[in-house]
């Protein structure tokens, strides 16, 4: 593998992580969705590049799925949802951008530290891919836990999943790549459809998850029996 090959792979994986970081400080939903599309596009490129490097034709399918499904279809659907459901365009965050970015940095550091140390025996490229993937995964999780808005939470999950595909694609000769990416696509589709479903059935006025909280199990039962106000659904616990 030449230096150029490596550099390109490195750049693409790094780009994925950068996109994740960018998502962290987005304040507007549309921008967030766009960056997600960008990340998915980068992922498609990275997987395709891996396919070329590893001479693994099935990875092209994965790349194609990523491109069509994640970079195009899902962002489009999300746009529609946001528009259709009149969701606040502004993203409600739990903690401020500064702390979030700082924690994001810390997570990246953690991922690098853990992964690079661990995968010392494997090829450099694979190691870095795994490290970036872990970082993306952690950042995705971070996003999920710092956003109140359902759409942005889902985007967090989607970016997390991008990290997984990156890791899987970066690991040489990983079998079932196609199956896995299809499985994930189904999962994601479910999630997005789920969003629609909830809206369609008009169970919830907003996709802000606080509305969902009202239907947490036993909530009303507990209130009925104890008569005392239950816990705030706010953020005192985190």
């Amino acid at each position: 593998m030449g230096v150029m090959d490596y550099n390109i792979a490195h750049m693409l994986a790094g780009g994925l992580m950068l996109a994740s970081l960018m998502m962290l400080y987005q304040k507007r939903l549309y921008a967030l969705i766009n960056i997600y599309a960008l990340q998915a596009f980068l992922l498609a490129l990275a997987v395709a590049w891996q396919a070329a490097l590893q001479h693994a034709p099935q990875l092209y399918i994965t790349a194609l799925i990523a491109l069509l499904f994640k970079a195009l279809l899902i962002p489009f659907a999300l746009h529609r949802i946001v528009a259709r459901l009149h969701i606040h365009r502004k993203i409600e965050t739990v903690i401020g951008t500064g702390p979030v970015m700082l924690s994001g940095m810390a997570l990246v550091a953690l991922a690098m530290d853990v992964m690079l140390k661990a995968a010392a025996h494997t090829a450099l490229l694979e190691r870095e891919d795994l490290a970036f993937a872990l970082a993306v995964l952690l950042l995705g999780l971070l996003m999920m836990v710092t956003r109140r808005n359902a759409v942005s939470q889902i985007i967090g999950f989607l970016s997390l999943e991008n990290g997984l595909i990156l890791a899987a694609a970066g690991t040489k000769g990983m079998p079932f790549m196609v199956e896995i990416s299809i499985a994930f696509s189904i999962l994601v589709a479910f999630i997005v459809i789920g969003l629609f479903l909830f809206r369609i059935r008009e169970r919830f006025d907003t996709v802000d998850l606080r509305a969902l909280d009202d239907f947490r199990g036993e909530w009303r039962l507990a209130e009925a029996f104890s008569g005392e106000p239950s816990y705030e659904s706010g953020d005192e616990i985190s």
Binding site: A118, L137, I180, L221, F225
Partner: protein, 479 residues
Amino acid sequence: MNFDAVSLVLIIPLVAAALLAVLPEYKLSSRVNVLASALTLGAALSLIAHRPPTTRYFLVDDLNIVFIVLNTFVGFTTSVFSASYIAHEVETGKLTSGLLRFYHALYQIMLFGMNLALVTNNIGLMWVAVELATLSTVVLVGVYRTPEAIEAAWKYFILGSVGIALALFGTTLVYAAARPVVGAGLNGMVWTELLPHAAALDPALMNIAFIFLLLGYGTKAGLFPLHAWLPDAHAEGPTPVSAVLSGLLLNVALYAILRFKILFAANPHVIPPGPLMAVVGLVTAVFASFMLYPRYDIKRMFAYSSIEHMGIITFAFGIGGALANFAGLLQMVMHSLTKSAIFFSVGHVSQAKGTQKMEDIRGLTESHPLLGWGLVLGVVAIVGMPPLGVFMSEFLTLSSAFARAPWLAAPLVLALLVAFGAIMRHTHKMAFGPVQGSVKPSRASYIPMFIHLAIVFAAGVFIPAAVAVWFKHVAKILG
């Protein structure tokens, strides 16, 4: 691939699912459902006699055959229970026939997913299968489409998806560690290929992998603090689904953890997985036992009891050694049977009384003697009283743990006692005292419940030598 028993175990549910998806009439489809489950069970039983050769895709060994037989058996009995349960739901208008088509098809898909996860020899395929089973149960949980059900399904879905993602990353890492040793390609994911080389796998990668796998599959198994989806999913879904969730899906997740545990334990340089599992199991058990007290919903209470049992089982496997592994295995089987029997009873009870609120269920042994005593018997079994099977496994778990590490067994005793007190407290009120709520007799199918309880009872006093030897062998495999 020739048409052997393994493929039957997988194909029957798939075909049945396809068939059920198009059958319009619920009475017929519930019968087809029972039939398909029975056939699957038969196929699984034939696996005991004729064990197919291990391929790179499928593996039937002493360990997973326990799970497979248990799985198909409970799947079958639950389908029987489901038939009478569903009939009542249709009568009361809670479910429509359109939804039922969906329900039955997904039931078989779920069984397919679980069977696949169990028979596969491939950690990647296993992951896919677990995901499939999860997705199908998500939909099943939400099938009532009440706000609570949708909330539970959504919660299950999101937390489950994150768990799945973590498990996949762990699987990828295992493969990454295996590739330099086993070589790239399918072999790097074949369990029987990985195991002989376990000691040579990169320990650092394996450490990280274990964390991800434990968290990932642990979410499925309902280990604290990843259990949050479990109580609500049990409480809000149809009761047959609760029975299957508690009785089967948790086992499948546990099976995955166990497979990986064997792998990790075979590598002396990796952090031993046992202690971590023991601690997680212990914390889970203690936590769940306390959570049993402030419960109002009968199904949610038993869901927490499932969490507690998963904690105990994980603890037992974490402790390791022949006795504790045997105990863990036994406990798992007994828990599956008992808990599903309890859910059978609970399902009919809540239908008869028209509520899941324990406050409104009183004097069951008088108003519905068979259901009430069945529930009492199930509860007596689940809290670990003899002469029922859970007692034997708890006896072995506790005594082997206490002899070796008293400080670990003490919290477990606490958990067991607290759980005992809690479950008994609720059950006492439901089963005895002046009758409250409806007294109209329920048209229940008692057979599945009492078959389960009979097996549990028999196992409590007598385990056939062959089964014991077999379990013991498995215990040895588990290390």
